[in-house]
């Protein structure tokens, strides 16, 4: 088995004349927490969208478990074993927590329509398997007591937990989390950090986009810093933290935001 779970090679993306991602390459090791940081507009989410097949790269290649995945459709990439969350918390808002998690199950995404209508036994077996798994995921992400609550009325932190649960529900090997702590209260942050660690302990690989620097420095095995679509540095947290370009780009961003 390959040591790398994901390899991105010379990825470039143009939006019209704007270069959103500029010749970026990196590899993610199996079982690590790999974080991508950078000021707003650095191209982090664009990177996620290309890895998961939502937008095609202009140039470059992406390999998952040694298989080239750019050109595949989002659902095909998801079935290969990449789960993701979206920057804006994206859930099936009108459905309950359990229904949300049921939709993400392998049994749900593949069960043929023909058998849904015609068969009795296969239908019942798959359904109870999927429901069982959905219950297990609900417990795992700490929403066991909210199973029958509609997603729209969950507190924000719980919605973030559920979105991670959705990314997990298809039992992927690699999980891409887009700002899982965005807009989350102080007391809820620890809960989500614990959840991320717990997922890693299950043997899954995590790729993280996050702005809360202290958390990123603590939790990550390695960090990739981007600025204006370019790779600034990729290294261990302490090395990245002391990198002058990173500091300049972050401080620059902070000052720009204030001014």
């Amino acid at each position: 088995m390959d040591e790398y779970i994901l390899e991105v090679r010379n990825l470039t993306k143009y939006f019209g004349g704007l270069k959103a991602i500029d010749n970026v390459s990196f590899k993610i090791n199996r079982g690590e927490i790999y974080s991508i940081i950078g000021p707003n507009g650095a191209g982090k989410t664009t990177l996620f969208n290309m890895i998961t097949g939502f937008i095609p790269p202009t140039e470059g290649e992406i390999f998952f478990q040694g298989q080239k995945i750019n050109g595949l459709k989002p659902y095909q990439i998801a079935r290969l074993g990449i789960g993701r969350t979206f920057q804006l918390t994206t859930l099936f808002m009108q459905n309950t927590v359990l229904e949300n998690l049921l939709i993400g199950q392998k049994q749900t995404r593949e069960f043929p329509v023909f058998h849904s209508i015609m068969s009795v036994k296969r239908r019942r077996v798959s359904q109870s398997e999927a429901v069982e798994r959905a219950h297990a995921v609900a417990e795992f992400i700490g929403l066991g007591t909210f199973k029958n609550t509609m997603a729209a009325i969950l507190p924000h932190g719980a919605q973030k937990q559920l979105s991670i649960g959705l990314a997990l529900s298809g039992d992927p090997d690699l999980i891409l989390l887009d700002e899982p702590l965005g807009g989350v209260d102080m007391d809820e942050i620890d809960m989500i950090i614990e959840l991320i660690k717990k997922i890693r302990d299950e043997g899954k690989t995590i790729c993280l986009i996050e702005h809360k620097m202290r958390v990123v420095m603590n939790i990550s095995d390695r960090i990739l810093a981007l600025s204006y679509g370019k790779k600034l540095v990729e290294d261990l947290p302490e090395v990245v933290a002391s990198n002058e370009d990173v500091i300049a780009s972050y401080l620059g961003d902070r000052y720009a935001a204030r001014g």
């Binding site: 989002p74 659902y75 789960g83 229904e99 939709i103 329509v113 959705l166």
Partner: protein, 323 residues
């Protein structure tokens, strides 16, 4: 216990449906029930694609028309029996649904209703102008009722009476409900709900949304064609307007006023509106104006129709008791 009670309720309901013709002596009311049955099938077909997959298909009435014309023409021009023409008509409708669904369902958001509206207009004009085949603007007349079924030693079932048509339509309504209910309560149904909720998220979870939308669209057009085919044989004549907006509007009204996204809603709508329509007969053409106003007010104040309103009311009562 709960299952037993459900089965009992269902049994009683079926019994009531079976004995209704014994008590209704006025043919006209039986006729309204037959029409309700046809509207139930078509409303459920629209509800499948609109209420579950979340796609507003403005050509659903056109697929009703395709089923009607196909069944009618197969009987009249090809001399087929109703029992062969109806399934063939449904299959033809579903095939056209599949072929037209492939391009239109690639679109999202605003574009899908527009694309299906254009599709509906295109097919309507083909029906309205293809004089040699469809009779064009004059329409199609003299379509036969279903042929009698001969059961050895027991006799024949003829479909000349309204009551026998009532039983036929009730049977088809039953089949439609069973198929659609099984589909939407299954894991495949969960995928449709996911597509309605958020198509991007559904894809990120590994759902082949395009494939599911096309399958759902095809099934939905099959049942629209079924309703149309029965309509053709029962009414005996067709106008090009049957394949146009008027029919789509009728379906949309039944679905929205009954309650979109539920099975019982469109059924209630399709029974309630024709009855209301009888009461409003004195209004003449203004009846449809009233319908339009009802539709607007429903969307404004009861977005989930009668069923949604009842549910909200029940939930409120429940809450009060709880406190």
């Amino acid at each position: 216990m709960d299952k037993k009670r459900k089965a009992l309720c269902l049994g009683v309901l079926i019994l009531i449906i079976l004995i209704i013709p014994l008590f209704i002596k006025d043919e006209y009311y039986l006729h309204i029930l037959v029409m309700s049955g046809i509207w139930i099938i078509s409303a459920l077909s629209l509800n499948l694609i609109l209420g579950y997959a979340g796609q507003l298909n403005l050509a659903q009435g056109t697929f009703f028309g395709i089923g009607a014309y196909a069944t009618g023409l197969l009987m009249q021009k090809m001399g087929l029996s109703f029992w062969a023409a109806l399934p063939l008509g449904c299959l033809l409708t579903a095939t056209i649904g599949f072929v037209t669904g492939l391009p239109t369902l690639r679109t999202r958001g605003h574009y899908f209703p527009i694309a299906t509206m254009c599709l509906g207009i295109a097919i309507y004009y083909v029906i309205a102008r293809w004089d040699d085949v469809t009779g064009g603007a004059r329409g199609l007349f003299g379509l036969p009722r279903p042929d009698p079924i001969v059961i050895p030693f027991l006799g024949t079932i003829s479909f000349e009476s309204t009551a026998s048509c009532y039983y036929l339509v009730s049977f088809l309504v039953f089949i439609t409900i069973v198929v659609i209910h099984r589909l939407i309560t299954s894991l495949s149904g969960k995928r449709l709900i996911a597509i309605r909720g958020n198509e991007d998220l559904a894809q990120a979870l590994g759902i082949n949304t395009m494939r599911d939308k096309v399958i759902c669209f095809t099934i939905s057009t099959f049942f629209a064609g079924l309703a149309g085919g029965v309509f053709a044989s029962y009414m005996g004549s067709l106008m090009a307007e049957n394949a146009h907006f008027v029919t789509s509007f009728e379906m949309l009204l039944n679905v929205m006023i009954g309650g979109v996204g539920t099975i019982i809603g469109p059924i209630i709508g399709a029974i309630f509106l024709p009855l209301l329509s009888e009461e409003l007969h004195f209004l003449g053409g203004w009846r449809l104006v009233v319908y339009g106003l009802i539709l607007i007010l429903t969307i404004r104040f009861l977005p989930f129709g009668i069923v949604g309103g009842i549910r909200t009311a029940l939930a409120k009562r429940h809450d009060k008791r709880g406190v």
